[in-house]
């Protein structure tokens, strides 16, 4: 039956319900497992094949040889957090963590060594 104010009863029921808002940043954000945020690099596992550099769509990761080991530098502003590098690495030397609060005021601070 058509009538105006059809949502009336449902709307009034909500006076007694808890609001569905999450008060971030007062309460911590709910992050799912497998969330893709800042990269983590295990330099002991890396062999320097640079497949991650080849497969990155945004030219965000650079592997350099420093002495005997390899170091990874990530441009956090270029990275699109697609995890293609993680998927491409055969030695599991890269992993995505859940750290997503990465904002900075100066762009030069976004080029980090991981």
């Amino acid at each position: 039956m058509r009538r105006p104010g059809k949502m009336f009863r449902e709307v009034l029921k909500h006076l007694l319900k808890r609001p569905a808002t999450t008060t971030y940043p007062a309460e911590p954000a709910r992050i799912p497992e497998g969330f893709r945020a800042k990269l983590r690099f295990f330099s002991e596992k890396c062999v320097g094949c640079k497949l991650c550099m080849k497969d990155c769509p945004a030219n965000a990761i650079f592997i350099e040889k420093v002495g005997d080991t390899y170091e990874a530098i990530v441009h956090l502003d270029r990275c699109i957090y697609c995890a293609q590098c993680v998927y491409a690495c055969n030695k599991s030397a890269l992993e995505m963590t859940k750290q997503f609060e990465l904002a900075q005021f100066d762009r030069r601070n976004l080029k980090v060594k991981i």
Binding site: R3, K6, V11, F35, R36, P57, C82, Q84
Partner: protein
């Protein structure tokens, strides 16, 4: 107050993305509509030519936020067809499940946006709260709420295990309850029906002539659904109906989308129950042999067409996308005839516009000379630097050099 030309856009609270509509009004009646596109052009097709196929997968996913899986799957299907690789059945089912979950998320988002455009904010808040169920589910399965990075060339990246399948079924039960409530509201709430009926009508002949796709076309009685006409992924094994309606107006489009949600829940239950065992991906060569392929996908907004041409190297030669909104925009001008100004936002919102998907053109029409010419990116950039130097006295070449030296560019 004579004839007034009102600009809706590029920046306007009614549009979620920039697009320019110049509406000529006579009192409150619309006499003419002029459209300009291209405000969201990002050069994705050009960028895809300079990257390998593996690099193109995340790039094409980011064409749009709401239909990201559609573009990614359509591209993978085209490339897999050129290379002649057959992906395992389990991967097809997983692609179907994620695609249908994306359809749920997109239609619930549309319901909220339509409510907001007619001033019914309560519908917006309720439907977006229920959409959180689907977003949390997708975050649990794929790790992210949009842009799932689920597809890989040759299959999918992640598996859906038993626990996640249970969660999918539980979420589908909750969502089916809520969708029935929204169908009840949409068909019985008088003020909503008054705003949506008789608005933005387009007849069946015009739909076929202008090539309108998706729920917009199906609301005028044209039965065209790629999932039934040209099955891809696992749709050949699924049983579902194609929903059409004969109202031909915005109300019909709302009804079509809501009833499509019920069909989606049917498909999801079938897919989760019948998912076969096996691998989730196969090896895919880095160099794709020469060839070309067209693949079509039924995105939540309509038919999405991808064309890929390969030439034997590891980079594609040409990638062309035709998003569904591109086909639907032509009919907006026809729909707005004889309507009021107050109907413009809801009519534009009823085709479910996604202008990020749409803007792909690089051909410029020189209005004064009447000739067609092509301008390269370098020319366009120099033209804009000259314009600002002449008109406003700003020299962007100097500013760019300064920022590059400072290292912040």
């Amino acid at each position: 107050m004579g004839t007034v030309k009102i600009p809706i856009g590029p920046q306007h609270p009614a549009l979620k993305e920039p697009e320019s509509f110049l509406i000529s009004l006579n009192g409150e009646k619309i006499t003419d509509v002029g459209m300009r596109l291209g405000y969201n052009h990002r050069g994705i097709e050009k960028a895809a030519e300079g990257r390998t196929y593996i690099q193109n997968m995340p790039l094409l996913e980011r064409v749009c936020g709401i239909c990201s899986h559609s573009h990614s799957t359509a591209f993978s299907q085209a490339v897999e067809e050129i290379a002649g690789v057959e992906i395992p059945k389990r991967a097809k089912y997983i692609r179907t499940i994620i695609g249908e979950l994306e359809r749920v998320h997109s239609h619930l988002l549309w319901l909220g946006v339509a409510g907001h455009e007619v001033g019914f904010d309560t519908l917006l808040m309720y439907s977006w709260r229920d959409r959180e169920v689907v977003m949390d589910l997708l975050a649990e399965i794929t790790g992210n709420r949009v842009q799932y990075a689920m597809n890989a060339l040759g299959g999918v990246r992640r598996d859906i295990d038993k626990e996640k399948q249970e969660h999918i079924l539980k979420a589908v039960d909750v969502l089916e309850e809520r969708t029935k409530y929204y169908i009840n509201i949409a068909t019985k709430e008088t003020t909503l029906i008054k705003r949506l009926s008789g608005v933005g009508s387009i007849s069946k002949e015009d739909v076929i002539k202008l090539g309108t796709v998706g729920p917009t076309g199906r609301a005028s009685g044209v039965t065209r659904d790629i999932r039934k006409d040209d099955p891809y992924a696992a749709y050949a094994d699924m049983e579902f109906n194609v929903i059409t309606d004969t109202h031909c107006d915005v109300y019909g489009r709302a009804v079509v989308r809501l009833l499509e949600l019920m069909e989606t829940y049917k498909i999801l239950r079938q897919a989760v129950k019948n998912i076969p065992d096996g691998d989730v991906s196969v090896r895919f060569p880095r160099r794709v042999p020469a060839g070309e392929a067209t693949s079509r996908y039924e995105a939540p907004r309509g038919e999405d067409v991808h064309y890929v041409k390969a030439n034997g190297t590891d980079k594609p030669e040409r990638v062309k996308l035709r998003a569904p909104t591109m086909a639907n925009l032509q009919s907006v001008a026809k729909m707005l005839e004889n309507n009021n100004l107050a109907d413009v936002p809801i009519t534009i919102a009823a085709i479910d516009p996604c202008f990020s998907c749409t803007d792909r053109m690089i051909k410029i029409d020189n209005v004064s000379s009447g000739k067609l010419e092509m301008i390269t990116w370098g020319d366009l950039r120099n033209q804009s630097i000259d314009f600002y130097k002449r008109e406003h006295g700003l020299d962007f070449a100097e500013l760019n050099k300064k920022y590059r030296e400072r290292g912040t560019l």
